[in-house]
């Protein structure tokens, strides 16, 4: 088991954002996390990645309890993440953005540059290496963020709404890229998503959250048939449609 979350609780001054969440992610799988707005998906991500200190519970990564560790230590043990809103370094070029990620594993600037260039080729970004990220479209910026996370050589890559704001074609490209990097880099992926089509086609297992609780888990095609899930998530959408 690569990641094992046990009874995780996160409260913000009385508001329970995550109540007693337990889940497991096996090495080499693509795990999805879905749920309506405000379900606590991003809070869970932030707890794992060290951006929030959990109120209670344990987060085991390769057997080590990383709950409450600061973000930079979590990154060092091999958990990388992307952000929901894009958080890119605007005054560094695309290549330099990815290099900063590569410096997580090396002190040598030339090695970091080589590592970054490898990642850029892998993500079809090599032609943008010398440009500044803010001059590029959102879909490319998302890929730069992905590349930056990838350059830290993670074991677990957590993607927070990587397909949000992408058009169907770009979403399809993203799916292919994710599958490709997972194979080439021997990764485990954990993604949250609003775009159901995206998460359902790519994930091998999904966890469903609603109002801070885990309400279902399993293979995507089975999860969507569960009454509770339809009620919590699909229900409101399908009711309107």
């Amino acid at each position: 088991m690569l990641l094992e979350i046990k009874n995780l609780v996160k409260e913000f001054g009385g508001v329970v954002a995550n109540a007693d969440i337990s889940l497991e992610i096996e090495r080499g799988m693509i795990a999805g996390l879905i749920g309506p707005n405000g379900a606590g998906k991003t809070t869970l991500f932030n707890c794992i990645a060290g951006y929030h200190k959990p109120t209670g519970g344990k987060i085991y990564f390769e057997g080590k309890d990383v709950a409450g560790w600061p973000a930079h230590r979590v990154a060092k043990v091999g958990i990388a993440r992307t952000f929901q809103g894009i958080k890119i370094m605007p005054n560094l070029t695309v290549e330099e953005n990815v290099m900063v990620g590569a410096f997580c594993r090396t002190h040598d600037r030339h090695r970091a540059r080589r590592d970054a260039q490898e990642v850029l080729v892998l993500l079809d970004l090599a032609q943008n290496a010398a440009t500044y990220p803010t001059e590029l479209p959102i879909a490319i910026q998302k890929r730069i963020e992905l590349g930056r996370a990838l350059a830290t050589k993670p074991k677990l890559l957590m993607l927070d709404e990587i397909a949000a704001g992408l058009n169907p074609l770009e979403t399809k490209e993203m799916t292919q890229i994710l599958k490709r990097i997972k194979e080439e880099r021997d990764l485990t992926l954990f993604l949250t998503e609003h775009v159901m089509e995206f998460v359902m086609t790519i994930s091998e297992a999904v966890t469903v959250m609603a109002a801070g609780r885990k309400i279902a888990e399993g293979p995507p095609e089975e999860v969507v048939k569960e009454g509770k899930v339809i009620e919590a998530y699909l229900g409101e959408r399908y009711a309107k449609g």
Binding site: F83, K87, M89, L92, E96, M99, F103, C104, A112, A149
Partner: protein, 336 residues
């Protein structure tokens, strides 16, 4: 051996448009080297030395202020530490100048380390105010203490004969070349630094702290390291001031004006670029000196500060990346 060559190559590789920047760099070096032979006016020579001194200060401050994006308005305290370390050690124990530079740097670094962690709990304007306060407290302490000479300051006795060990020469030309040597060393250090691991980490922290942390960067430690390094670099210039002016007091080496002028040269020239501090000093220092000479006593009325403030406002409104930012924009437009 290969490793040494590689580091040398890193030190001398000037970024993005290697050829243009190398040509500019060489023209600049030749001009400064020939300057004392072409210009005979001693006032112009002293302007040149002051320009190099402030370019040196700017290069150091650029580390925390430009690459780190932290507005530190207390660099004068580090200048003061360097100046006092040199002056006091030379006066008390007759230690040669060369052995006093490093103790000054060490003291500045240690002091910065001691105050850095509480200060970096603050951000933005609050951090700027904190740095300003710490520097003012130190200045007042140096005025108050007797052992530092108090408000009267410290005078380094003039030696009967020129003496290399104590940095006393018959002609200002020697100081010109010495400050130029310090300046070039610092320029090359900064050129190496900005492409180093810490350099990139610092820039990442400046641009986005949360993203930086997700890439394994300890945000606070990175800022603290940068803050301490900047302090050490500031102290070098301070040591030079002590032997060049031969007389220092707290109002001269650690005032608020000095902190602000250092920060301003960098911002006017272009914070976060290697050439920015040099351009800024090239504009502001001659302006300051000639304006002072021209206005004479009226200078005290603060006319020079009004002119600075106007330049600052124009820069802030029109081109936040300073003079170098204008060059960059023209260059990028040319590429399209």
């Amino acid at each position: 051996m290969n490793k040494v060559l590689q580091v040398l190559r890193d030190i001398f590789s000037f970024a993005d448009r290697p050829r243009t920047e190398w040509i500019g760099f060489i023209i600049f070096v030749v001009m400064v080297l020939l300057f004392p032979w072409l210009v005979k006016s001693s006032y112009a020579r002293s302007v040149m030395i002051k320009f190099l001194l402030f370019a040196l200060f700017g290069l150091g401050w650029n580390l925390i202020g430009g690459y780190g994006g932290q507005v530190d308005l207390g660099q004068a305290k580090n200048v003061g530490f360097g100046a006092y370390a040199t002056a006091l050690m030379m006066v008390w124990w007759k230690i040669p100048f060369w052995l006093t530079v490093i103790p000054g740097m060490i003291f500045a670094t240690a002091e910065s380390f001691a105050v850095a962690y509480p200060m970096f709990r603050l951000r933005g304007h609050y951090f700027a105010i904190a740095t300003l306060c710490v520097a003012l407290v130190w200045k007042e302490l140096f005025v108050f203490w007797d052992w530092t000479g108090g408000a009267r300051g410290v005078e380094i006795p003039i030696r009967p004969t020129p003496d290399f060990a104590y940095m006393q020469f018959g002609s200002a030309i020697y100081y010109h070349y010495f400050i130029f040597f310090l300046f070039i060393t610092q320029l090359l250090f900064m050129n190496w630094f900005r492409k180093s691991k810490l350099g990139y980490e610092l820039q990442a922290v400046r641009d986005n702290e949360e993203a930086a942390a997700s890439l394994g960067i300890n945000v606070t430690n990175t800022k603290v390291t940068a803050y301490c390094t900047t302090a050490a670099l500031g102290a070098i210039g301070g040591s030079f001031m002590a032997v060049y002016y031969l007389y220092i007091d707290p109002d001269f080496v650690m005032p608020l004006d000095l902190s602000i002028l250092i920060a301003m040269t960098v911002m006017v020239g272009g914070a976060g670029s290697i050439w920015g501090p040099i351009l800024g000093a090239a504009v502001l220092i001659p302006l300051d000196m000639y304006l002072g000479a021209w206005l004479g006593a009226q200078k005290r009325l603060g006319i020079d500060f009004m002119i600075y403030a106007m330049i600052m406002m124009i820069i802030a409104a029109r081109e936040p990346k300073g003079i170098w930012g204008i060059f960059e924009r023209i260059r990028r437009r040319g590429m399209r």
